[in-house]
């Protein structure tokens, strides 16, 4: 097996693609888990159609799973694939443009029937023979028939047999990249514990693919050595799970019960699902009848003394707008997670976008200031969910946490941040001494004290009407309204004192500063690093704290001559920066295709500005 010469690589991008029913998500996940477990850094990007089952064999029905793994640190799932696995003509057609020149393409030749080629809408009758293939290293494998062959004695029905062909493909790729099979085999053993026939079949096919690759000549074998990454215990994690766990961590640190009130919506649903599963940790997960009940029940839970959150995506955030205002005026802690997706309206529900920023920052009736925080990698969703909770609880305010479809579904090896590594969270509970004044504030932070039902002697009433300073009684006194409006604003502004300073990565003496926020971090960092490696001077300042902006933001901006704000929208952060720091000019690079940036296009656009 290891007779062949092995070529060492730094970084490889693989895209598994096939029909929605072909199990590509599972295949991709297995490959990335194995790679992570053997010490590579990995970044993944699952990409699937909005339909549960889009029409078989069509380009619209192609499901893809891209991953980038390497010997060095990996920040993005990669622009172009070194290896494409295409289980049918549609998958080939949809992804060919995304394969690097000279890249390897593995196709299941059995699927290239006339019918399938037509369904895929290919122009040529035999796309495998097409001149376009000159540049590629094509591996034509009769995957379906070989799968059938290897399972002919398994006793399984034809449908089940064919369903396991993805494991044949995985076996091939495992061999090419010298991966061990054991982790995937362990996975089978767990998953098919109660179905020994299926368990055996999967193992058999995986190995058959592996052996097939070993057998046929003309196939290079690569090794991607473990990455030199920080010490620690790692696990693979995606953004939604990381978000859910960040809240668990916060509740534990605050020593409070965790309540989530949510309504399912793509791509946020997994947070709710994970927390429903965490009933085993005492989480009160309430699947509400709609988004409004989701947030309002969470506000009720917060009033009752729980740490409360609600999770959603764009259209759901729109529906929660009115209730966010209630949490603002009631000054109750609450975290609202918005996993952004393609808009407007239902838009492109399974695709990523950053177009809810202004809605989050200013999209409410009345003067209703809310801190806004954005995570920037799948794994740091954990940290920012924790941070959002800490700010909410310690500053008695709703906080909006922005992630996006790319972060939510993307995975990454994560150097586990356990409870020892996290700071304390100390809500400002009423201590029971003296008379309780619901709207008396800490003179430093402007934060009021929290008393909740069950606390003896602190009975009080709150609500959505303007309230008298200190007492919280309803008040229509004109000047009091201005006082309270200003205090609410000031309270949020002062959070600047507890958030970290903004960082810059790259050249301090560059002319050009690239500015980004949220889920584009990996792509922006890679682009900037590559440009620097190529000899250009450039820096990146990527934002996680949106409102308030870190205190040193202006200091950073003024150091650079040129600023390029890159976003997956029409320029909302640029607009926001103009609102706050109008004295600087901001160039924009925007993309609105429901897709993450590519490093290539970023470099091109940054370079253009550098050279201007």
């Amino acid at each position: 097996m290891d007779k062949k010469p092995i070529i060492e690589l730094d970084e490889v991008v693989i895209k598994f693609s096939g029909d929605s029913g072909d199990g590509m998500q599972l295949t991709g996940t297995q490959f990335s888990n194995t790679s992570a477990l053997i010490g590579n850094d990995v970044s993944t990007f699952p990409d699937y159609p909005a339909e549960i089952r889009a029409p078989q064999g069509t380009v619209g029905g192609v499901s893809g799973f891209q991953l980038n793994f390497g010997h060095k640190e990996i920040y993005t799932p990669g622009d172009y694939a070194d290896v494409l696995v295409a289980m049918n003509p549609a998958a080939l057609r949809a992804n060919l443009q995304w394969v690097k020149p000279g890249g390897t393409i593995i196709v299941d030749t059995d699927s290239f029937t006339d019918k399938n080629i037509k369904k895929a809408g290919c122009e040529e009758s035999d796309p495998l023979k097409s001149s376009k293939f000159g540049d590629f290293n094509i591996i034509e494998a009769p995957i379906t028939s070989l799968t059938k062959e290897s399972l002919k004695d398994s006793g399984l029905d034809n449908k089940s047999i064919v369903r396991s062909k993805n494991m044949f493909a995985l076996g091939i790729v495992y061999w090419i990249f010298t991966r061990p099979l054991e982790y995937t085999e362990q996975f089978f053993e767990h998953k098919f514990k109660k179905k020994p026939q299926i368990l055996e079949a999967n193992k058999l096919v995986l190995r058959a693919g592996y052996n097939y690759a070993n057998t046929i000549e003309a196939m290079p074998s690569y090794r991607v050595n473990p990455a030199k990454i920080q010490k620690g215990t790692y696990r693979n994690i995606n953004g939604n799970t990381a978000t859910a766990w960040g809240f668990l961590a916060a509740a534990e640190k605050a020593n409070m019960p965790l309540f989530i009130g949510s309504y399912p919506i793509t791509p946020a649903t997994e947070i709710l699902q994970e927390l429903e599963s965490r009933k085993d940790m005492g989480v009160k997960a309430f699947q509400a009848e709609d988004e409004i009940a989701g947030i309002v029940s969470a506000i009720g839970a917060s009033f009752a003394g729980n740490m409360a959150i609600t999770t959603t995506s764009g259209p759901g955030l729109a529906l929660k707008t009115e209730a966010i205002g209630l949490a603002v005026i009631a000054e109750l802690p609450l975290v609202i997670v918005n996993v952004q997706r393609g808009g407007p309206s239902t838009g492109l529900p399974t695709k990523t976008e950053q177009s809810d920023l202004l809605q989050a920052v200013v999209g409410r009736n009345g003067e209703a200031p809310v801190p806004v925080i954005a995570a920037s990698t799948p794994s740091n969703c954990y940290n920012y969910a924790f941070e959002a909770s800490k700010i909410a609880l310690e500053h008695m305010t709703p906080v909006i946490l922005l992630t996006d479809g790319f972060l939510a579904n993307g995975t990454q090896p994560w150097n586990i941040v356990d409870s020892k590594q996290l700071p304390e969270i100390k809500p400002r509970f009423f201590k029971g001494e003296g008379e309780y004044m619901p709207y008396a504030r800490d003179p430093e932070t402007f934060v009021r004290e929290w008393a909740y039902p069950g606390m003896k002697g602190a009975e009080h009433r709150i609500g959505g009407l303007e309230k008298m300073d200190l007492t919280g009684n309803v008040s229509y006194v004109p000047v009091n309204h201005e006082v309270m409006t200003n205090k609410r604003e000031e309270k949020i502004d002062r959070i600047v004192n507890v958030i970290p300073q903004q960082k810059v990565e790259g050249d301090a003496d560059a002319d050009t500063l690239v500015i980004g926020w949220g889920g584009t971090y990996g792509h922006l960092l890679t682009a900037v690093q590559e440009l620097r490696e190529e000899g250009h001077k450039v820096a990146l300042s990527h934002f996680n704290y949106i409102r308030p902006l870190p205190g040193n933001t202006e200091d950073i901006f003024k150091k650079y001559k040129k600023r390029l704000v890159c976003e997956i929208n029409l320029g909302q952060f640029a607009k926001y920066l103009r609102m706050i720091y109008p004295q600087y000019e901001y160039k924009q690079f925007n993309k609105v295709q429901g897709l993450p940036f590519t490093v290539t296009e970023l470099k091109k656009n940054i370079l253009k500005l550098i050279n201007e």
């Binding site: 888990n33 992570a36 053997i38 982790y183 473990p226 990454i229 920080q230 010490k231 215990t233 790692y234 696990r235 693979n236 766990w245 668990l248 534990e252 019960p257 009933k279 085993d280 940790m281 005492g282 989480v283 009160k284 309430f286 509400a288 009848e289 409004i292 009940a293 309002v296 029940s297 969470a298 506000i299 009720g300 839970a301 917060s302 009033f303 009752a304 003394g305 729980n306 409360a308 009115e322 209730a323 205002g325 209630l326 009631a330 586990i416 941040v417 356990d418 409870s419 909740y452 039902p453 069950g454 002697g457 602190a458 009975e459 009080h460 009433r461 609500g463 959505g464 009684n473 309803v474």
Partner: protein, 340 residues
């Protein structure tokens, strides 16, 4: 649910220091009094009451109660109360809501709260009008009613709140009248004892925008003949002389006079509020004057598990079974690896 021992409270203990701002003569004030009286008699600690409302005249209620209170946003009282109760099931949660708050904008939370059987005492102040916004028709306004938004007469067929409660699989429904303090207090006690959503519709007079909407029923002179107060286990009799009653005739209800046409007290239906089958309760709820007397009291009171109890049990069970004792257990579970 607080301590078992009965606290020695007086109604005054439940009065807040805020001046009451309802119109003079508004039915809301009478209801406030009956709630304060009832609470003084119930066994909960004062700090365990949470009085939750939406927006409307009626929803100002929490401000007048010296308990924990939350005046929410319009229509969302049900979701707010649900969150409070699920978050802390020990609390005694009272939801105050109007016909608009609960059945117009809040209709969805209303039906879901009821179907889930969240253990909340839900007092629905039905004045058949939007009071706070100065007199538009509500989803319980009568057909033909002239209001600010129905200058040519309302064409919107009204809900019957109790009927919607049945449709939402409600397990407790009662009907009171603002001015009938003792009836209300009796109902509130049963509502408090019932574990699940206890919906109490209270016919409430809005003296400004819909004065006299229930006067044809509640007028002292004829009240006894036009209203019937149902009590579990008691025959359904009514009338100034307590000689009228309800009798089953095939699948229908009939009003008979005891002692006439051979009808005796034994022909009169004995009220069974505990029957899980809702169809007779529905008939009782739907009784309309003049064909029938309008039913007051606890019409339905059926035991069933509440969502909050099921949630609690389910959490206890899974926590007990779980291998995870703290988050670190989860973080380090499954596929992890070490980099040294």
């Amino acid at each position: 649910m607080g301590q078992i021992e009965t606290k020695k409270y007086t109604p005054k203990d439940f009065k807040s220091d805020q001046e009451i701002r309802w119109c003079a003569g508004c039915g809301d004030t009478a209801i406030l009094n009956s709630v304060q009286k009832a609470m003084a008699q119930l066994g909960h600690n004062k700090e365990d009451y949470a009085v939750i409302s939406g927006i409307g005249c009626s929803s100002r209620f929490p401000y007048y109660m010296n308990t924990y209170g939350f005046h929410g946003i319009h229509g969302r009282a049900g979701a707010l109360a649900s969150g409070v109760k699920i978050a802390n099931p020990k609390l005694s949660v009272w939801q105050i809501t109007g016909d608009g708050d609960a059945m117009a904008i809040g209709g969805n939370h209303f039906i879901h709260e009821i179907r889930r059987n969240i253990d909340v005492n839900l007092l629905l102040f039905n004045n058949e009008i939007y009071g706070l916004t100065k007199g538009q028709y509500s989803p319980t306004s009568k057909v033909g009613q002239v209001t600010k938004t129905s200058p040519y007469g309302n064409i919107d067929n009204p809900f019957n709140p109790g009927e919607l409660v049945i449709g939402s699989q409600g397990k407790f429904f009662a009907r009171g009248v603002d001015i009938l303090l003792n009836l209300n207090i009796d109902i509130f006690k049963l509502a408090d004892a019932h574990k699940g959503t206890s919906v109490v519709e209270i016919l409430q007079n809005c003296v400004i925008y819909n004065d006299g909407s229930f006067a044809h029923l509640t007028g002292k002179e004829f009240r006894e003949d036009r209203l019937i107060t149902l009590e579990h286990g008691k025959p359904m009799v009514f009338g100034a002389d307590k000689n009228k009653g309800l009798k089953l005739k095939g699948f229908d209800l009939e009003v008979v006079t005891i002692g006439e046409n051979g009808n005796t007290i034994d022909d009169i239906i004995v009220h069974d509020a505990k029957n899980p089958d809702p169809s007779l309760h529905l008939k009782l709820i739907n009784m309309q004057y003049p064909k029938y007397p309008v039913a007051l009291g606890v019409i339905r009171d059926v035991d069933a598990p509440s969502y909050n109890d099921l949630m609690d049990e389910s959490i206890k069970e899974t926590v007990a079974k779980s291998k995870f004792k703290c988050l670190d257990d989860i973080l380090y579970s499954g596929n992890t690896w070490e980099v040294k």
